[in-house]
């Protein structure tokens, strides 16, 4: 399962702790993850490893991580019309 990081203040607000299972919902998708408390993350944010995930592969790689893109929200940048993902928010709920 994917591991995401958040600091202790965020975790307390969400009612989770180290190792808790959470569901991240956003961008029309959802993902399950385990919580790791790391104080280097800014309050109110969840840090997730983008690009680390395999849904196929052998017994060594299959099922590790997750596709974080599915919970990101894509919008268009006003001036260029290019796709941006930096406005993404997720709802984090304890499982």
């Amino acid at each position: 399962m994917m591991v995401v990081m958040m600091n202790s203040a965020t975790a307390r607000k969400l009612g989770v702790g180290q190792g808790s299972k959470v569901k991240l919902a956003g961008g029309g998708g959802e993902a399950k993850a385990l919580v790791h408390i790391y104080e280097g993350v800014v309050p109110g944010a969840v840090s997730a490893p983008l690009g680390m995930g395999h849904t196929v592969g052998d017994e060594f790689s299959k099922g590790k991580g997750d596709n974080v893109y599915k919970i990101l929200t894509v919008t268009s940048e006003a001036a260029t019309g290019a796709s941006v993902w930096n406005g993404s928010t997720v709802n984090v709920t304890k499982m």
Binding site: N7, S8, A9, E39, G40, V41, V42, P43, D58, E59, F60
Partner: protein
């Protein structure tokens, strides 16, 4: 307390301020020393009845990290949190705690160069050395190595592969040391009197940006 002395002592300096915790040294060590990746599933285990179930790399008590990077924090909350990373290979102690406890002398500090040896065929797997090591630098092979399809064909020919039941640890890339001594003999130099950077271990090599002309 007496430390064993040698004419030449190999060692390394790790600058904690520079370490970013990237883990390249851990990976380099595992590749150099033929350490198998871990998996829960074992389609080939004919001994399942008498061995513990395999586990994957999420179980940090079973990961074979001869070089292991620890994360140290000051315990403060955001935004006063500070972190440092501590790479920990076998510390090649001057007076190793693991040596006198081995019942079969599978580990010793008796070779010119000061590297604490680990002789796999001699080890009986009692794990007394693991209990003795204050740095938790020793690892036990709970299972035979299991390689992804084809990976066993591309292992390093220099490092031997260990079976289950044997303790292993960082050996300061002793195989590279042997290669450096061979190079010296070929070049007509004294193998017992190598230059200071005649070889560097794989962990240091994976962070060193530019190889020196004779580096392995």
């Amino acid at each position: 307390m007496q430390t064993k002395e040698f004419r030449i002592k190999w060692g390394m300096v790790i600058d904690i301020d520079k370490c970013t915790g990237c883990g390249a040294c851990m990976v380099g060590c595992q590749v150099e020393n033929n350490i198998a990746p871990m998996t829960k599933k074992d389609p080939y285990n004919y001994l399942q009845a008498i061995t513990k179930d395999r586990d994957d790399a999420s179980n940090k008590l079973r990961t074979m990290t001869w070089m292991n990077v620890y994360e140290l924090t000051n315990g403060e909350k955001f935004p006063n949190h500070e972190v440092a990373y501590l790479p920990r290979p076998c510390m090649q102690c001057g007076n190793p705690a693991c040596v006198p406890v081995c019942p079969v002398i599978a580990t010793d500090k008796n070779e010119e160069g000061g590297i604490v040896s680990q002789i796999y065929p001699r080890c009986i797997g009692c794990r007394y050395c693991m209990a003795a090591c204050p740095y938790h630098a020793r690892y036990f092979n709970w299972w035979d190595p299991l390689w992804p399809e084809g990976m066993d064909k591309v292992l390093s020919p220099e490092a031997s592969v260990r079976p289950r039941g044997v303790v292993e640890k960082c050996n300061f890339c002793h195989t590279r040391f042997m290669t450096a001594k061979e190079e010296a003999r070929i070049n007509g130099e004294d193998p017992e009197n190598l230059a200071e950077d005649a070889y560097i271990p794989a962990c240091a090599r994976s962070v060193r940006p530019v190889p020196s002309p004779s580096a392995i």
